[in-house]
Symmetry: C2
Subunit: 254 residues, 2 copies
């Protein structure tokens, strides 16, 4: 049984931030400052080239913690944040930059590299969830959500496909090549973000990945705009999605 090893704790307003490691993987857990009652947990996967405490992660965490009373945890993906890059990481990142500079599609590199990272990250997420559910303020019975876009989807889909403790998930913005087969095993409620004018992910590819989920309740949110232009209001929508499915308290007005 894994347990989180807490390495630092800070508090800001009504949110407590605790850094931890589980089996050597660094993570962060945000929790409501008041009360130690059991509350739902949302696991968040960060994007490629990013890390566990990137502004997108802390901003979403604040909404989920202070708006819904949830716990939120993020771990650094392999080769990201406080974790070392391997020679293989360096090689794939160089190949991505080369493809971009040459005006070639980056999909083949991202799909291959993210699938490699997912193989390492999925058991790390399982261990992290084991450890966090051992905390009295989370527990093993409460609902658990997963929220990850881009690389957070490439790691999250195989993780959620094999993890019955996850009961609702928000995914988006990835290719179906590797992930569609795994998405077919997912039956929980899904919200899926897609950029209608994505210059990297062809529209039909994004739609095919959404189509693959076996979930009876699944919602596609497709917005006009390019890959990096996912509107901010989609994060508010994701928060409401988790409030609806994980049974949180009242959500602050968007």
């Amino acid at each position: 049984m894994y347990t989180p090893h807490f390495t630092a704790e800070t508090s800001s307003g009504d949110m407590v931030e605790r850094e931890f490691t589980v089996a050597g993987v660094p993570g962060v857990l945000w929790s409501p400052a008041a009360g130690s009652d059991r509350a739902p947990l949302v696991l968040m996967g960060h994007g490629g080239g990013n890390h566990k405490k990137a502004p997108a992660m802390t901003g979403r965490a604040r909404h989920l913690v202070t708006g819904c009373g949830f716990h939120v945890a993020v771990i650094d993906a392999p080769g990201h944040g406080d974790r070392p890059r391997t020679a293989h990481d360096e090689q794939e990142i160089a190949e991505l930059y080369r493809a971009r500079a040459a005006g070639e599609p980056e999909g083949p590199v991202v799909v291959r590299y993210n699938a490699h990272l997912a193989e390492i990250a999925v058991p790390e997420w399982t261990a992290t969830l084991d450890a966090l559910q051992g905390l009295p303020e989370i527990g093993a019975e409460g609902p658990v959500g997963y929220f990850g876009i881009n690389m957070g989807t490439a790691i999250g889909i195989p993780f959620v496909a094999g993890e019955p403790r996850i009961t609702a998930a928000v995914f988006g913005q990835h290719w179906p090549d590797v992930l569609a087969e795994q998405a077919k095993r997912i039956t929980i409620p899904i919200e899926f973000d897609l950029q209608w004018d994505d210059e990297h992910i062809p529209r039909a590819a994004g739609l095919a990945l959404f189509d693959a989920f076996a979930s009876k309740e699944k919602t596609l949110h497709a917005n006009a705009g390019r890959h990096k232009e996912l509107p901010r209001f989609e994060f508010d929508s994701a928060v409401r999605f988790f409030a609806r499915h994980l049974g949180g308290a009242a959500v602050t007005a968007a």
Copy 2:
């Protein structure tokens, strides 16, 4: 200049309901009970075979009036609600029932009949908006939204395409055959609902209609499920969309 002729007024809790006619067309206007300050107006188009005070209309109106402080107006479409059916209406409805009974696609009949109704209804909406903007509690300067799914989209797209006073709209669930050309003239923010497993509207047809809008901000909400299974949370989403774009007060938690 048209003015609304009010024929009945009732009040229920914090919402006032006034029935009216404009140039003979019957409508209903729901308003906040408290205050006569100017507030945004949302025009709603009802679905085929339905009418201005159907439960879907009154339910959405209550959210917009009491949650956002907006005025909401619906008029009966030609041949619907308190308006007489013509011989042509009877003929098209019989043809729709015949197609359904024969297991034929209903799209061709619905597209043709709704286009006919839109030709009549668009100038009626223009006159209604003229009249309602003459009321001191609405005024000619405030933002105006349009919200209509199904037949409400078939009438709403040509109306909004030619009506610069509408600044945000929610549409959905119709065919592109007639409407796509008109949607290309629309540039305001749009939310568009589509059912991923619609047994009447082919998926590619629904996506083509969403694609046609020229709006820089447009969001597709595609949900798993058949034609009549549009989830209730999409109405909450539409309310938040109008709150965001028409500048309403705080929205009640979904």
